[in-house]
């Protein structure tokens, strides 16, 4: 498979501050690749270096094997969809889309044909004459995408383009964007701080923190097998619990939490007895009042502090007995747990493969 983008040891320093530090990765042709990280983690800087707006302090960027060093942004085979879309308000939809083709001095008939074809592709036929301020947020989104795709870029960069949309539209655009990418087959590099966008759309996701990649993996692996505490915390909801290694053997360890509860759980790294650790446990990993027949489960008693009803995302806030630690537990809405009230004492259980612990950092 062809490699569209390859980034090697790229670093960007602004005076004393290092925004991106020795990041390397490769993106295959046709991949939907996301870079996920909190704001200020350096993802935008990384994207701008690929687009050519920012010059790297060190390292190299290859696009289809060509070194991009010193190539101006208007000469690179990449296009960028801006956070605020940056559609030209003084032009119509058609003029916006034709802008790049005109810069390539293509002839007028070709331009018209291409613009029309791409408008059909993004399902905006007949919108060419409209002014930018006459179309809706979702339509603007599609015009911005069309404006880049019409140029047939090797790589399309997207800088949190869904951020400005309201929640409903964002959900809808996520699905549309993924479909569109599959249709056109262009390599997408998508940056976002929203883990759901990254997980839903991407083939691969890199989780970025403080200028470096924490983990580059498929969405499933990121969620199920986080390799660092940061990933465990950042991707999806998680309960963090500190404790000490009581007894270790191979991949499973016995952990004594600070409350004195003893759990068996999995670890991805070598741990010695006495080592301080953080245990991560997803809300949906905890079963409420588990069947007594399931003997392998870690079990413990909690008091229900409050019930957060939110339809399918309903949750319980609970605390282990005699502890002020608060845990979030998923509350399935299948009427089975309707009897639970605030202040009740209930039993929770979880499988040793559902939790993961890391050395405390």
């Amino acid at each position: 498979m062809q490699i569209d983008l390859s980034v090697i040891d790229i670093t960007k320093k602004f005076d004393e501050f290092t925004a991106v530090e020795r990041v390397s990765f490769e993106v295959n042709q046709g991949d939907f690749f996301s870079i996920l990280g909190p704001s200020g983690c350096g993802k935008t800087t990384l994207l701008r270096m690929i687009a050519g707006f920012t010059e790297p302090t060190a390292g190299t960027i290859y696009i289809r094997g060509n070194d991009m060093a010193g190539i101006a942004p208007n000469k690179r085979p990449v296009n960028l969809i801006f956070q605020q879309l940056a559609l030209f308000p003084m032009m119509t939809v058609e003029e916006n889309i034709a802008f790049g083709l005109q810069r390539r001095r293509e002839n007028k008939a070709d331009i018209r044909k291409k613009v029309r074809a791409i408008l059909d592709r993004v399902e905006l036929p007949g919108f060419g004459e409209k002014q930018i301020d006459q179309i809706s947020g979702g339509q603007k989104q599609r015009v911005a995408i069309a404006r880049c795709l019409v140029l047939n870029p090797t790589v399309l960069l997207l800088d949190e383009p869904l951020g400005a949309l309201d929640l409903k539209l964002r959900e809808q655009m996520k699905v549309e964007l993924k479909k569109l990418q599959a249709q056109v087959g262009t390599t997408f590099i998508y940056i976002t701080h929203d883990q759901s966008e990254a997980l839903v759309m991407s083939d691969h996701v890199a989780v970025m923190n403080q200028g470096t990649f924490e983990q580059l993996d498929t969405p499933q692996n990121l969620y199920n097998k986080p390799q660092t505490p940061f990933v465990a915390r950042f991707v999806g909801q998680n309960n963090a619990w500190s404790g000490t290694v009581h007894q270790g053997q191979e991949r499973y360890h016995e952990i004594r939490t600070d409350e004195g509860l003893i759990f068996r759980t999995r670890a991805e790294e070598q741990l010695e007895p006495g080592q301080r650790v953080d245990l991560f446990l997803r809300p949906e990993a905890m079963l409420i009042q588990p069947d007594p027949g399931l003997t392998e489960l870690n079990r413990f008693d909690v008091v229900v502090n409050s019930i957060l009803f939110d339809g399918a995302n309903s949750q319980l806030l609970v605390s282990p007995l005699n502890s002020r630690r608060e845990l979030i537990v998923a509350l399935p809405q299948n009427r089975q747990y309707d009897y639970i009230d605030e202040g009740d004492k209930i039993e929770l259980g979880w499988d040793k493969d559902s939790g993961i612990c890391f050395r405390e950092r």
Partner: protein
């Protein structure tokens, strides 16, 4: 106190009265000037002796209307030509200035910016004499060094243009800068990303965005130039501009033909100002 709060009757009435008085104060001189342009009298004064268009159209001895008044017509033509060149020059340089101070970074930018706004706080009279003195020095220098007698350095048409240009450019720079400040620079990056070079970006994106501001800057420049008196006073040569010419007539006393000119001026400038305002409102 304000419209959303309960106000006493005296407060509201008193305030209204004040505003009415203020607007009468504003418009009284203009209104009287306009009305007396149509008075059938040799002097711009009451009593009212009947309606006439003589001060626009007549061409008999002792009563020359503006449309036959060679001297005044000539000075209008001079003013229009001056204003034309000042507008072209100051709009160009002012737009450059706006780009320079909003988009470029260079050493001594702050000091240069300070210099750029200085003409606004230098009295026009001082601008006039300093340019007069300097051009005179240059003239002497050229003559002594190379024996050249450069007409440009003496008071006259081009010196008036330069004198007005020297401070009107600042106004245009500020007008255009105000809009350029609102410009989203990611649009430029987007255009670059789509393959445009720096000049194509400026031409297709930034200048298009700035067009309303440039037009209104040009309108302001034209009006300011057309009406300038203080700076022009010192630089004017044999070709008097309209304000200079009017000044001489007002000072020495004259017929209501000045009222007729004033009436036309009020008509023209308000229509230019109104159109300008209309377009700038529409473009926001």
């Amino acid at each position: 106190m304000i419209r959303s709060l309960p106000n006493s009757r005296t407060y509201t009435l008193g305030f209204k009265l004040y505003i009415i008085l203020y607007f009468s104060f504003l418009f009284a001189p203009l209104l009287v000037t306009c009305i007396l342009a149509f008075n059938d009298s040799q002097f711009p004064a009451l009593p009212w002796k009947g309606f006439t268009l003589d001060w626009f159209l007549a061409n008999v001895p002792g009563r020359v209307g503006i449309f036959h008044d060679r001297i005044n017509l000539d000075s209008i033509w001079v003013s229009a030509r001056v204003a034309f060149f000042v507008t072209i020059l100051s709009t160009t340089v002012g737009t450059c200035g706006a780009f320079l101070f909003e988009q470029e970074s260079f050493r001594f930018k702050q000091s240069l910016y300070f210099l750029m706004i200085a003409p606004l706080v230098i009295p026009g009279v001082i601008l006039g004499i300093s340019i007069l003195v300097f051009s005179n020095s240059l003239g002497i220098f050229f003559e002594e060094s190379w024996g050249l007698d450069v007409r440009l350095f003496g008071p006259g048409f081009w010196l008036v243009v330069l004198g007005q240009f020297s401070f009107i450019s600042t106004l245009v720079t500020l007008v255009v800068s105000a809009r350029l400040k609102k410009f989203d620079r990611t649009l430029e990056e987007a255009a670059m990303n789509l393959g445009a070079n720096r000049f194509e970006v400026i031409w297709h994106i930034t200048l298009k965005f700035l067009r309303p501001a440039i037009i209104s800057g040009a309108a302001v420049a034209f009006l300011m130039s057309f009406e300038n008196f203080n700076t022009t006073l010192f630089l004017v040569g044999p070709e008097a501009t309209l304000p200079i010419n009017l000044y001489l007539q007002v000072r020495d006393g004259s017929t209501p033909v000045i009222n007729a000119i004033s009436f036309l001026l009020i008509l023209c400038t308000s229509s230019v100002a109104l159109t300008n305002l209309y377009f700038s409102k529409k473009q926001v």
